[in-house]
């Protein structure tokens, strides 16, 4: 958890650590290996990799965070509603969920990106929308797991409305699970938005973003592996830290 705080703080202040303009190209210093002036080397167009990695966190995390919101909001509402829904609705919903889960997410991403264009929001939607249905499934599962709990019974016997029960009793009790799951969605979004760049759907060439940088760095991998190395490590470490925090969150209430 502390690591996560540190990571977020780092991403926020990191642009201050940039030593060069992350966007401006310099055709006289292309693909320089790491050295004093460019501690992580330069990329294919002569831009400083360190400055790009430090400024890139904002966009990368921004897309992943937005995507998480896009997945969670409708997902939580849908999941809670379903947990209280009659059996027939539940079964119908279950089939729809399975149908969507079987749908290749690259198809969804291409459609969203073609319709919405490029930029942070379209990318967040392309990644987030595919995660809505899995969220519904998880939230419903969590809500059903506490269905028989004593505090719900007593609330019901006191005549609380279903909406009130869900909002005041179910939601707080599954909150730790949800938070942990939000972490999972976040790391998924981080990895998936990077994967879209690999498949050529990331858009916006040159923008400092770890996914875009990794995809661009891969093109020069044979002769300049350091270009892909820094954003690769950044993505891996971030996902690792977020996963760990999610793990701890998911485990803590049981103790």
């Amino acid at each position: 958890m502390r690591l996560l705080m540190f990571l977020i703080a780092f991403v926020i202040v990191a642009p201050l650590l940039a030593t060069h303009d992350p966007m401006s190209t310099d055709t006289d210093s292309q693909r320089l290996p790491p050295h004093a002036a460019h501690i992580l080397g330069t990329d294919a167009l002569g831009r400083d990799v360190w400055s790009r990695v430090t400024t890139g966190g904002w966009r990368t995390f921004g897309v992943a965070a937005l995507a998480t919101v896009i997945a969670l909001l409708p997902g939580i509402i849908g999941g809670l509603a379903l947990s209280a829904a009659p059996r027939l609705v539940e079964q119908l919903a279950d089939s729809s969920i399975n149908a969507v889960l079987a749908f290749p997410s690259v198809v969804i991403a291409l459609i969203v990106l073609t319709l919405l264009g490029q930029g942070v929001m379209p990318l967040a939607f392309a990644v987030g929308i595919a995660q809505i249905v899995p969220t519904v499934r998880v939230v419903r599962g969590a809500a059903l797991a506490i269905r028989g709990a004593g505090y719900l019974e007593s609330a019901r016997s006191l005549g609380a409305t279903p909406t009130r029960i869900v909002l005041l009793h179910v939601l707080p009790n599954i909150a730790p699970t949800l938070l942990a799951y939000a972490g999972v969605v976040f790391s998924y979004s981080l990895l998936n938005s990077a994967a879209l760049s690999f498949l050529g759907l990331g858009g916006e060439p040159g923008v400092p973003d770890w996914g875009v940088m990794l995809a661009e760095g891969r093109q020069a991998f044979r002769s300049a592996p350091w270009i892909a190395f820094a954003p690769g490590v950044a993505i891996t470490l971030s996902v690792m830290i977020v996963n760990r925090a999610a793990d701890q969150l998911g485990r803590s209430p049981r103790r």
């Binding site: 055709t27 167009l45 044979r222």
Partner: protein
């Protein structure tokens, strides 16, 4: 239980894998050739990609060929031909004794069957039919003479007939297989015969031992000649050089310039860069959209572009600077346009100022009447265009211009985006040896008139150049067309396209034909097999 599951998985995996492994009769001179993308189809009469021609150019013969060194038309399946003075009749005398790979005889009826297939609407030809221009019908004079009849003169016809898309296929095979099936069962007369095509995986061709009717520049095979070639698809550019170095393939096309530069020091790899005729990497400028509606702005944009730096940085100096709407290796290229609008940021700034653009709010960007100059550029993902566009963005910022790059993920998306309008520049180009493709881009009613330029002179010059049969006259018409296009600054040409082929040093005599894309596989030899 677990062990059982594992055992089943292993067995299944092994079995499936066994099915996919082909029994490769190990012939001594078998090579593997890396193609860049999986074409959407492999039938030369139907499909349009350049990749399909790389293997199939050697499976089919054409009525005529272009000599790769002189560019002149030479005898192919036709030993000679005559064009009527009005340019409406082309009469071909066919070689005798030519047989298809299936043993059937090549004759005038076979040519007719091919033309029938290509022009049949059910074939839905994507390229070949359009290459025939004003062709309307044929007349079989005798078994070895056929006459093509045109509704109006169309001088690119011979160029079309020399391309693999109009290659001669066996009528027996064409009638035995449906249009969908034929691509898996192709039969031509060429120096190699088609063995198999497995989509997404490979296409294999094997030497035709009966071949003796090739054009003059096809050498007679020797004991070192290659006798079987497998083509594979390498969609991801970053993996191409590694596959070549690792020995997965002996020839690889379209290496990334960086990788090609790095391979230059490798003794075992020989670089074989080929200039491809056609359009250069270019940005078409929309003459209807502010601010590129202003000729001075368009001229300033070209002058503000440091193409040499781009070619150094992105293409590793492997490409010549482009000055014209056609690459220097294209027929009728005019060197008169070379050198115009050479890089001069000072002059670009002066030009923009003369047109009334100044930085009145001192924010580093020019404005005009209170609104800032913003250039909207449509950037497709292929051909390193994103890298070029980013350098363009930086270079134009130097003269006070703001550039917005708009990436489009696919060709479809690009076309749709262009149709919406509202862009200033769009990167697009196509290939071809005869510059008749210019009509599509620069005539008023051209399908791809994305510059929205309307000019009666240019229309007339380009139309005359297609009808005119005299080569010298065509040359001066195309010189005039290039002059007008560059004088009006309709395009920003960047670099002539160069296909960076890498070849292992055991492969010799690999040369490319007049179209740049297509290797003359007949002449390839393998040493030290």
């Amino acid at each position: 239980m677990l062990l059982k599951v594992l055992r089943v998985i292993i067995l299944l995996a092994l079995m499936l894998n066994a099915c996919t492994t082909t029994s490769e009769a190990q012939s001594r001179h078998r090579i593997i050739y890396g193609l860049t993308l999986q074409p959407s189809g492999f039938d030369p009469h139907i499909h349009a990609s350049s990749e399909l021609g790389i293997p199939l150019r050697s499976v089919y013969d054409t009525l005529v060929y272009r000599d790769p060194t002189t560019g002149d038309f030479v005898a192919g399946l036709a030993s000679s031909w005559t064009v009527s003075p009005d340019g409406l009749n082309y009469t071909f005398i066919l070689k005798q004794g030519v047989t298809f790979h299936d043993g059937t005889t090549f004759n005038a009826q076979a040519v007719a069957a091919n033309l029938d297939r290509i022009t049949n609407p059910d074939t839905a030809s994507q390229k070949a039919i359009f290459m025939l221009g004003s062709y309307t019908s044929y007349e079989i004079v005798d078994d070895s003479t056929i006459r093509l009849i045109l509704s109006e003169p169309y001088s690119p016809l011979l160029d079309s007939l020399s391309q693999v898309y109009l290659g001669m296929a066996s009528p027996a095979a064409l009638s035995a297989f449906s249009n969908e099936r034929y691509q898996f069962n192709q039969v031509g007369t060429g120096p190699f015969q088609f063995v198999e095509y497995v989509p997404q995986d490979r296409l294999v061709i094997r030497r035709n031992l009966n071949y003796s009717w090739g054009p003059a520049f096809y050498n007679a095979p020797t004991s070192d000649s290659v006798d079987e070639i497998e083509f594979r698809f390498y969609t991801d550019p970053a993996t191409r050089a590694i596959a070549l170095e690792g020995g997965d393939v002996q020839v690889m096309g379209e290496l990334l310039p960086v990788d090609a530069r790095a391979l230059a020091v490798n003794q075992e790899i020989i670089l074989n860069p080929v200039n491809v005729p056609g359009q250069p990497l270019q940005f078409l400028m929309n003459t209807e959209q502010f601010p590129t509606d202003n000729l001075v702005v368009r001229r300033a944009l070209i002058t503000a572009t440091n193409r040499e730096a781009m070619i150094d940085a992105v293409f590793q100096r492997f490409s010549p600077i482009a000055w014209s709407p056609i690459a220097a290796s294209t027929r009728f290229y005019s060197s008169a346009v070379a050198g115009a609008y050479d890089y001069d940021p000072g002059q670009a700034r002066a030009l923009l100022e003369s047109a009334g653009y100044t930085d009145s709010d001192n924010n580093g960007y020019l404005d005009f009447g209170g609104s800032e100059l913003i250039l909207n550029v449509i950037v497709p993902p292929w051909g390193l265009i994103p890298d070029v566009a980013q350098l363009l963005q930086d270079q134009w910022r130097e003269v006070g211009l703001r550039v917005v790059l708009e990436t489009v993920p696919t060709r479809n998306a690009l076309v749709e985006r262009v149709n919406q309008g509202g862009y200033n520049l769009v990167a697009f180009y196509e290939f071809g040896s005869d510059p008749s493709f210019l009509n599509r881009y620069f005539t008023t009613d051209g399908v791809n008139n994305w510059t929205n330029f309307i000019d009666a002179d240019l229309d007339r010059v380009l139309r005359d150049a297609v009808v005119q049969s005299d080569a010298a006259a065509r040359g001066s018409l195309y010189a005039e067309a290039q002059r007008i296009i560059m004088d009006r600054a309709l395009i920003l040409p960047i670099r002539d396209y160069v296909n960076l082929n890498g070849v292992q040093s055991t492969i010799q005599n690999l040369t490319y034909d007049a179209y740049g894309w297509f290797p003359i596989l007949n002449n390839v030899t393998v040493s030290g097999g």
